[in-house]
Amino acid sequence: MRKEIKFSGFGGQGIVLMGNIAARASAIYDGKNAIFTPSYGPEARGGAASSNVVISDDEIDYPYVTEPDVLVAMSQEAYEKYAPMLKDGGLLIIDEDLVKLKNGEGKVAKVPATKIAESLGKRIVANIVMLGFFTAVTKLISYEAIKKAVLESVPPKFKELNEEALDKGYERGKKVKDGKNGKMA
């Protein structure tokens, strides 16, 4: 079963790293097949940034994301650019403070990832909060796998912070998934 995921936002949010961590978690620690492709080059400097992940139990032939099953949008520009690509019935995940939804959305999950990161003292870990949230909501990657992949991607002195960020996002995601916050429309 092939799943396509697109992470998107603006330059500087660590969007490329999100995709890399997610795919690595799946490929190395969940033992699935996974491919990560960054959006690359001048288009990746400023403006909408994106990175793409394909996860599958089978061999992955075509490596690119064309119709994402999951779109993670962390900026308005990214949301507007990529939302039309979303597969019918696909899931949209947004940072609720940075993205204002237009009409006609399908399934949406909202998280104040940047706000949570700021509450931890480092806005820069918003992407890790989002990864935690993404993991809990989609269940495409196991918690153990994403945790290992996150921790090996960050410098030792930031491990604790990132772990906390991941967990905060994950907890939030679980609640949403269970319908406790009722935000998953």
């Binding site: 795919a23 490929a27 491919i35 492709t37 032939d61 075509y62 490596p63």
Partner: protein, 375 residues
């Protein structure tokens, strides 16, 4: 060991694993990560990284390093490969083992620096002037970027020829699982060394096409020149006889070993009536399309070229009658198609792209249906 590498990083790691200890290069998209990773890794293993002033210098430097006794590599993209061509010719003429990685982007000229092209196929083969033969390999996944880089070094050492690894932007930037075998499981080939005394050594005399190689400082006082030279290595630039013998051998050492050098992945080819021919990242889309077509009963298979040069003439000649139709899928306007056509002696269909993206499986599937049903 399982790693999660991009094609570029896998290539650099493959080079280190193959024993490459010298890298000279000039930054160019989309190959730059190879240089960056070599700059990081080589000093850790006692190797040398040098960023040269341009691609001409990079190519010359790896030839020098090879004669200095090291396994050497450079990495570039199409425009850089153009600049390297004169010294690739020197490498062919002087039989210098080395590896040139070309991460193809879309051209001509500056083209689309950050996006895929596969149009350096002919440049890899014919880019330098004069008659010569070269080896070129093409990977379809980060795993193959690792494996085929090692193979490139082994072939360079075995045949004493520059080997071109024709990657493409897509495979260079995608990250995937890469299995790194333990050191002792990796086959490494070293160049043949002379076994005779310096006074008896003829540096360009070959018993089986490839002469043993004495490097600088080994006491053999070898003269190496890009001029037409005799077995002693001395210039004989006005002798058609010496030219005949030398160039024939330089070409034949590759041509006559085509079968040994052949590396083709056949997928669903047993009863295929239509064969897709492809290479590099594009071949992955082809595989997806073949799977889809098979499900719907089309007898279609995929021929994926891992060795591009020397071209598998004999292989295609042999299957030309069994396979009714060939469709070549490539991100250029028909470079491999011309080769297939030459070998099979009939019209070959082409599904080209000019660059910037690979084919989507549905485009290829559509083409399969069209050709298969004779529309």
């Amino acid at each position: 060991m399982i790693k999660f590498y991009s094609g570029n990083i896998a290539c650099a790691e493959g080079a280190i694993a193959a024993g490459c200890r010298f890298f000279a290069g000039y930054p160019i998209t989309p190959s730059t990560e190879i240089a960056e990773h070599m700059a990081l890794r080589l000093p850790q293993v006692g190797g040398i990284f040098i960023q040269m002033e341009d691609e001409l210098a990079s190519m010359a430097a790896i030839l020098g390093a090879s004669w200095g006794g090291m396994k050497a590599m450079t990495a570039t993209s199409g425009p850089g490969l153009s600049l390297m061509q004169e010294n690739i010719g020197l490498g062919a003429m002087t039989e210098t083992p080395c590896v040139v990685v070309d991460v193809q982007r879309a051209g001509p000229s500056t083209g689309m620096p950050t996006l895929i092209g596969q149009a350096d196929v002919m440049q890899a083969r014919w880019g330098s002037h004069g008659d010569y033969e070269i080896i070129a390999l093409s990977p379809s996944s980060p795993q193959e970027c690792f494996d085929l880089t090692i193979k490139s070094f082994n072939l360079a050492e075995e045949y004493r020829v520059p080997v071109i690894l024709l990657m493409d932007e897509s495979v260079s930037h995608m990250s995937e699982k890469v299995i790194i075998p333990p050191k002792e499981k990796i086959k490494i080939v070293e160049r043949k060394k002379p076994k005779v005394k310096p006074s008896e050594y003829l540096p360009f005399k070959a018993d089986d096409y490839v002469p043993p190689m004495a490097c600088a400082g080994e006491g053999y006082a070898v003269h190496v020149t890009g001029l037409t030279h005799d077995e002693k290595g001395y210039p004989q630039a006005t002798s058609p006889e010496v030219q005949e013998k030398l160039v024939r051998r330089l070409c034949d050492k590759i041509r006559k070993n085509e079968r040994k050098l052949r590396d083709i992945e056949e997928f669903e080819m047993e009863d295929a009536k239509l064969a897709i021919v492809s290479f590099g990242t594009t071949a992955r889309s082809c595989k997806a399309a073949v799977k889809r077509a098979r499900k719907r009963g089309y007898k279609v298979g995929l021929i994926r070229l891992r060795t591009i040069w020397p071209f598998a003439d004999e292989y295609f000649e042999k299957i030309a009658n069994e396979i009714k139709q060939f469709v070549v899928v490539e991100v250029n306007y028909g470079q491999i198609k011309l080769e297939v056509e030459r070998c099979v002696g009939k019209k070959v269909h082409l599904l080209p792209k000019m660059g910037g993206e690979i084919h989507k499986p549905e485009e290829i599937y559509k083409k399969i249906k069209e050709v298969y049903n004779g529309n």
